[in-house]
Symmetry: C2
Subunit: 405 residues, 2 copies
Amino acid sequence: MYKINDNYLKLPGSYLFSTIAKKVNAFTATNPDKKIIRLGIGDVTQPLSPSIIKRLHEAVDEMAARETFKGYAPDLGYEFLRSAIAKNDYEARGAKIGIDEIFISDGAKSDSGNIGDIFAKDNKIAVCDPVYPVYVDTNAMAGRTGDYDSANSRWTNVIYMPCLEENGFAPQLPEQVPDIIYLCFPNNPTGATITKDELQKWVDYALANNAVIIYDAAYEAYISEENVPHTIYECDGARKCAIEIRSFSKNAGFTGTRLGFTVVPKDIVCDGVMLNSLWARRHGTKFNGAPYIIQAAGAACYTPEGKQEIRELVGYYMQNAKTILEGLKEAGFTVSGGVNAPYIWLKTDGMTSWEFFDYLLNEANVVGTPGSGFGPAGEGYFRLTAFGTHENTVEAIDRIKKLRA
Amino acid sequence: MYKINDNYLKLPGSYLFSTIAKKVNAFTATNPDKKIIRLGIGDVTQPLSPSIIKRLHEAVDEMAARETFKGYAPDLGYEFLRSAIAKNDYEARGAKIGIDEIFISDGAKSDSGNIGDIFAKDNKIAVCDPVYPVYVDTNAMAGRTGDYDSANSRWTNVIYMPCLEENGFAPQLPEQVPDIIYLCFPNNPTGATITKDELQKWVDYALANNAVIIYDAAYEAYISEENVPHTIYECDGARKCAIEIRSFSKNAGFTGTRLGFTVVPKDIVCDGVMLNSLWARRHGTKFNGAPYIIQAAGAACYTPEGKQEIRELVGYYMQNAKTILEGLKEAGFTVSGGVNAPYIWLKTDGMTSWEFFDYLLNEANVVGTPGSGFGPAGEGYFRLTAFGTHENTVEAIDRIKKLRA
């Protein structure tokens, strides 16, 4: 008789954004006349830029002729894309990453969920609190997190690193030593960043304790300040302890186009085994590549025109971030983030996060994300994203201001 | 100190097709003047058909305008595609499958590897021998297969169901009862099929023994004979015990375009838990959808024009299958498959499978796949695929005939 993976049954409720979608659908069904503005899920709204569209059309045409048709992609992804990444994302930042250390994927969500496959079940993970739910949920599915304690909304076998107002929403080195450390900077959901010196401390800590860091740099393109590292490989020794996950979703608007990559340096070695080999094996056995036309479009992001367009696109969203940040300050909210990240993190002032969600949905018809959905230390906070249109963002903030007037 | 998933270390050698690629690359490096013909990996060669190309261009244009731009896809995939699948692949075959039982993915390889996530580690799997390597390798990675015994090329905790000449390359019901049964018809690698009555026996067996069937129907479009089931849901009771995996790779030529789907009926319930819910949770947490433009292209396969084009494309490859089947027979080989499947399975007559691989590569510059790469019962067999061009297929068979002349 077959048995299910009962770790799934320990998961509390459904995936955060599915819950939000259901609540919004229910509201829309009973209030069909209301114009909802969505600043909740981190989904982009602006079209793909001209260079990307042009390359997509060309690649589609290549698929239409026998001479240029592409079947299965190379295991790690097309070299034209991996070379562009190695050069632009790493070499240009003083980090040396080989093209056989870069694995093209269908996105950072898949990679950050799947990376756990190459580790033993009995590793102890450390996560920021609040945190992107995928890290914890996928480890829970793998049986790595113990049991869920609904009394304090925490798993019994996870090291939580609270990111609170008093520490500038940056985690402290944990007292209990973890095996796998998840870090995300610029941070989702708080929008906080870390300096290069601070990140170096994490690398040193990981090296000293034989821990591995899963570094999610999906929001790297939003960094506007100096001394904020664009990749963990700017830090000394990171090649020996850090895996980095990247995405095209938030810089080039690929949320519905799907492309990402993961870097696994060959210097990360455990008992004589390179993690690079393990991930290569997983990649080659449980995945069959991102579509050729999407990889071609990804490479267009690294052309001079593509880079300029992406800068403008990121600039568009950062204008929204400014609108939200300044508007909420004027309305009297305590806010952070929004300077090196497309996320604004605000205090809900006496309401729980979900109470504030319902309040904002019902009274202003604005959808955000409850901070508590990202972990217990997110309770009393709320996330708004800069990925709306200018018009909607301005209107949403006006509506929120009126609530407080 | 972090620990790796040492199940990976038990895997013998690298993934089959990676090994082949390395051997071919080495041969090409030392024989740059030789024209290699590849009938090894099941990769298609013909371009995407006009309806699909047209829809891809349209969808790219949709991504270029704010009004029609698409961000994150719905969790299960776009309804326009799931509806087309439910109607054309199931309702038209007399099988009732709801659109919330269909999960759009980036391909059958990912799905057949990932489906194991929702099952406990201590399930015992049964596989055909020979078999598509992904089923076994991914279960080995999950720690479900015991240890690899290189003396007999078998895992200690897997039930092997030999598919040999004497049983028409169809598996017999196993004596030891498995928990999870992998079946693939039309079969990769043997090209064998199963009648509806025979498949019903497997469904009855699964129901009687509380086993679940993972049914890989990636080659369904190649069925040319009557009484061969196109979906397992043509069988009574299959909704209670069978998960079906499908692909756009081999019918519509999507090997480099990436699209597939998995059907998990809500009637499969284990201890009160629907497998559909578990897969939905995995799908929503560790995956973020296939690209919108690819899903749009998938839906074009179900239009009247798309269907006609796909029939022609499949017909093109089946002409190759006939060329190979008849040519090898003339050359004196013992062959099977190739009638309801794009694969031809031949006996290597005294050579091992890898000896025959090297022989064919060196002497005829033709690449095939060693039968032993699919499991120990494949030793002494060899797989050729019908996915080449007409010209190359004819030339490859001529070269092989000359070797035997």
